[in-house]
């Protein structure tokens, strides 16, 4: 989960500093019942992989489920790929620290971008029949842009998979008492097994299952947590007393010039988080977009992020409320006066509130979310590595079966590499945090390049590569030099992230325009179906039977989600 959970990285990287304390504090009273529930889940995960195996005949089946899945499946997988455990724990932590500001990561930091992906971008992505996000850059720009984005994506995917695995190991060690290496090897093995066997279909099916298990875990925690602190009113009164009135609002204290704990004002929230960071993550991160590309037709592909948007609007309550409840129950959480980190909010409530049975469901949900977070990265990594790097630049023109075999092999290599990354992370967590921040800045210029490439025919072949490079560099310079060295004062890492993203966006756009003016454009006939206002000949599919039903109209779903998200802000704005 790349940019959507900047908080996560910060929070997760803090956890390992007190592993011993954590272990004693948060050990869950699990018994045979909970382990039975967990065991059943692992069996089902493997079963899905085994059963999906017979559906893999071509490389398209393995990497993109043969472009044949229904919209509700790809939509729930789309949201589940984002709903990894680092996101869940990280956003609960964010809430314990910053309060209701967390809603911004959902209502403005996700919904508009998801709707834009479905309504505006998906016809180009899906209609051009590309198999990955870098492949679109290859068609629209040139090989330089393609290779740069493929290689960076492949590295980032392994890094994030490894960080996920390491986070899982820390949490499992604290909650269940398993040694870190056992958790890393067991989770790595299961992910390896089900993706190698069933490819993307297996990953997506497991994500859909995980979505429901996660809900079954979070809903009881939220309900009991609220009950413990006297309902929403009790929660609100208590936090208003201890943290001030702004803590319980979305926009309180975000005026330009006024100080707030987030270190961001409404402008940097709207532009940095809501526009640049969120559009970069949701519309160009292949781990997400891949789910939509596996849909069975254009209508289903467009509805994938739109269907995902509705649960996304409400999931914020299931992570924010536990975080707020933890802030009430442990007033000193996250400070030197408490053994509990912000990140421990949900595990702490699980320990305090859940009896055996539901506790097993919650542990299963958390583990499932960790594995899905890793699997989404592995299944997008193997696709990019095989179809974009290996098949185009190393061994091309082999029969299709070769690439299926290679895809399976590279899945194993990817899992082993992320296990290695996880072990590395356990000794060098600072370096990992640094690397993750580094890679996260890559999404921003990706989005610039996409948006300009899709809407401006004149954007030249060379401009893609230079825009990517310039934007990434500018974001990094702003973050690592200007902010970290204190040349300009930004009160927090979050605020600096938002500003760096805006800097990267502007630099990428300026360089693209400048390079385009001096280099030759791509011939118009090669841009058909890739640029707004063009149509690729022969791509117009007849609409599938039933897709004209009113509740399947993308415009209605998309605008419905935007209006609903805006309406959700109202009770938290005054």
């Amino acid at each position: 989960m790349r940019t959507s959970s900047r908080a996560t990285k910060r929070v997760l990287m803090r956890t390992p500093t007190h592993p011993a304390v954590l272990a004693a504090e948060l050990r869950l009273p699990t018994n045979w019942l909970d382990y039975t529930i967990l065991g059943i889940y692992f069996v089902v995960v493997l079963g899905i992989g085994l059963a999906a195996r017979r559906s893999v005949r071509t490389s398209l089946d393995f990497f993109l489920s043969g472009r044949s899945l229904p919209a509700w499946v790809t939509g729930l997988a789309f949201i589940a790929a984002n709903l990894g455990a680092t996101e869940i724990l990280g956003m609960a932590a964010n809430s314990a620290q910053y309060g209701v500001y967390t809603t911004h990561w959902y209502w403005i930091g996700a919904i508009p971008a998801m709707v834009f992906l479905g309504l505006v971008m998906m016809p180009f992505y899906y209609g051009s029949k590309v198999r990955s996000v870098p492949e679109f850059l290859l068609l629209r720009f040139d090989k330089a842009a393609h290779l740069l984005s493929s290689v960076l994506f492949a590295f980032a995917a392994i890094l994030i998979a490894g960080v996920n695995l390491y986070a899982l190991a820390i949490v499992v060690e604290a909650l269940l008492g398993w040694p870190e290496w056992v958790a890393i090897v067991v989770a790595g093995f299961f992910v390896l097994a089900y993706i190698t066997l069933g490819g993307l279909s297996s990953a997506i099916y497991n994500e859909v299952l995980q979505f429901f298990v996660i809900l079954a875990a979070l809903i009881p925690i939220t309900i009991l947590g609220l009950r413990k602190v006297g309902g929403w009113d009790g929660l609100s009164d208590s936090l208003t007393r201890s943290r001030g009135a702004d803590f319980m609002t979305s926009w309180g204290g975000t005026g330009i010039g006024s100080a707030n704990p987030l270190g961001a004002n409404w402008l940097t929230i709207v532009l940095g988080l809501g526009f640049v960071l969120s559009f970069g993550y949701w519309t160009t991160n292949f781990a997400e977009v891949q789910r939509a590309l596996s849909a069975k037709n254009l209508s289903a592909a467009r509805r994938t992020p739109l269907i995902a948007a509705f649960p996304k609007i409400f999931i914020v309550f299931l992570v924010m409320i536990p975080g707020l409840v933890a802030a009430v129950l442990v007033p000193k959480i996250g400070t030197a006066g408490s053994d509990l980190q912000y990140n421990d909010a949900i595990p702490y409530l699980m320990q305090q509130l859940l009896p055996n049975g539901v506790l097993g469901i919650a542990v299963t949900g958390l583990l499932a979310a960790f594995m899905a977070g890793m699997a989404a990265n592995i299944s997008s990594f193997n696709t990019v590595f095989t179809t974009d790097i290996w098949a185009k630049y190393v061994v091309s023109d082999r029969e299709d079966g070769y690439y299926v075999r290679f895809g399976r092999l590279i899945t194993a290599v990817g899992v082993l590499a992320s296990i290695g990354t996880a072990f590395l992370a356990s000794s060098f967590s600072n370096i990992m945090a640094y690397l993750q921040t580094l890679f996260s800045f890559f999404n921003v210029p990706m989005f610039v390049v996409f948006i300009i490439g899709m809407f401006w025919k004149r954007a030249s072949m060379k401009s893609g590569f230079w825009g990517l490079l310039a934007g990434t560099t500018a974001a990094m310079v702003n973050y690592f030099v200007i902010y970290k060295r204190g040349i300009i004062g930004i009160p927090s890492d979050q605020g600096a992230n938002f500003v760096s993203a805006i800097a990267g966006f502007v630099a990428g756009a300026v360089v693209m325009v400048a390079v385009s003016l001096f280099t030759r454009p791509k011939p118009a006939e090669e841009l058909q179906g890739l640029v707004y206002g063009t149509r690729s000949p022969g791509l117009a599919e007849p609409p599938a039977h039933g897709d004209d039903a009113w509740y399947r109209r993308p415009a209605l779903l998309g605008w419905g989600a935007v209006v609903l998200a805006a309406a959700c802000y109202i009770p938290f704005s005054f």
């Binding site: 529930i37 059943i40 089902v44 899905i48 059963a51 999906a52 559906s55 893999v56 005949r57 071509t58 490389s59 398209l60 489920s65 043969g66 472009r67 044949s68 899945l69 229904p70 509700w72 939509g75 729930l76 051009s128 029949k129 590309v130 198999r131 290859l138 068609l139 040139d142 090989k143 279909s201 099916y205 859909v208 299952l209 979505f211 429901f212 809900l215 079954a216 009991l224 009950r227 413990k228 509705f310 649960p311 409400f314 999931i315 509130l353 859940l354 009896p355 049975g357 539901v358 469901i361 299709d400 791509k522 090669e526 179906g529 690729s536 791509l539 599938a544 039977h545 509740y551 399947r552």
Partner: protein, 107 residues
């Protein structure tokens, strides 16, 4: 090789693979798995709720959370099995399957 990669290559390659793809014809229906798993989980957790001790009730703020969660999961599982039964997977070649999108949106 020229520096510009023709989109025709990708489109031809993917269209060709689509005709040979086996996923639509041979991939099982996930509703069966979700339904089955949640019925099993629902039964286990409901039984744990029926046998709840006072200590467990106190821990969960006086709510028999196992019972309610178990019943909820059981209902969800039955919903998926019923949905599968009422609208089984359509045979893939003639028309894409016709399944509704109502699930999970209110979650």
């Amino acid at each position: 090789m020229s520096d510009s990669y023709s989109d025709r290559n990708v489109q031809r390659e993917v269209s060709e693979l689509e005709t040979k793809s086996a996923t639509a014809a041979r991939l099982f229906d996930i509703r069966r798995i979700i339904g089955g798993l949640f019925v099993v989980y629902g039964v286990i957790v409901t039984i744990a709720g029926l046998a709840a001790s006072d200590a467990e009730l106190d821990k969960a703020q006086g709510v028999n959370i196992n019972l309610w969660t178990g019943l909820g999961m059981l209902l969800l599982g039955l919903f998926f099995l019923a949905w599968l039964r009422l609208r089984p997977t359509a045979p893939p070649p003639p028309a894409p399957e016709d399944t509704g999108e109502g699930v999970g949106e209110g979650a």
